[in-house]
Amino acid sequence: MSLYEMPNLSSGMDEAIIGTASAVPGFAPMFLLFVFFVVFLGGMGSQKRRIGTADAPMWAVVSSLSVLMISLALSLREGLIQTEVLGVVVAVTLLSGLWLFTSRNKNEV
């Protein structure tokens, strides 16, 4: 018995991704988590290198909105992402907004 069976690539790349997601249920959440932290940590590191400080709440909003956009694209096909995962992504986006808008000092947004 093989550990993993290759998906059928002849029916399109999306079928291959859906096959991967069905074989490994954590594929989509882990992919979204990866994108979130790449944007979040990459943006903060880049900003800190340029101006000396990093605006964590702003990068949290930017990265969660990036993940939300990818999640919406994934939601167009059945089997790529579950409603629970989409709900968590929306909830994280709302929390990031809460963090951003309650963390501004009086000279900012």
Binding site: L68, L72, L74, S75, L76, R77, E78, G79, L80, I81, Q82, T83, E84, L86, G87, V88, V90, A91, V92, T93, L94, L95, G97, L98, F101, T102, R104, K106, V109
Partner: protein, 144 residues
Amino acid sequence: MGELKFIGGIMLVVIFSIAVISYVANFSSDNSAEVTISDDSSFDALNQDLQNNVTLFSQQTNTSAKAFYDSTIASGDSTTTTGGQFKVGLGTSLTTIQGILSLTKNKIFGGSPAFGYVLTAILSFLLYSGVRYVWKTWKGGDPD
């Protein structure tokens, strides 16, 4: 002014939340998505609650503004007796934040009551900050 910044920040949170939920729901509807948050009624409920609270905030602001416009201060008075015009907005705007935190608790942490304490602490801190701001604006100085 601190209170304006605080209430303004909460209003922006509410508008941001309404925009995100509406966008995601409408995207799913327009593109006939297989997976949509419309399947989960809690998002619709939160969106409706936020919109109702924004409407209530607008009505309260109008009422309070009219009362403030009609009010007079006798010579020698340093403040109003009720301070109603300074207290408007805090209650309804923090109710909206409570809705966002409840949805976060249910969706991210599966409704675990243990995490509810953390979110309650966040909400309590926001309420505490708001009361301090209102006191400072109404009475002047710090409430100590």
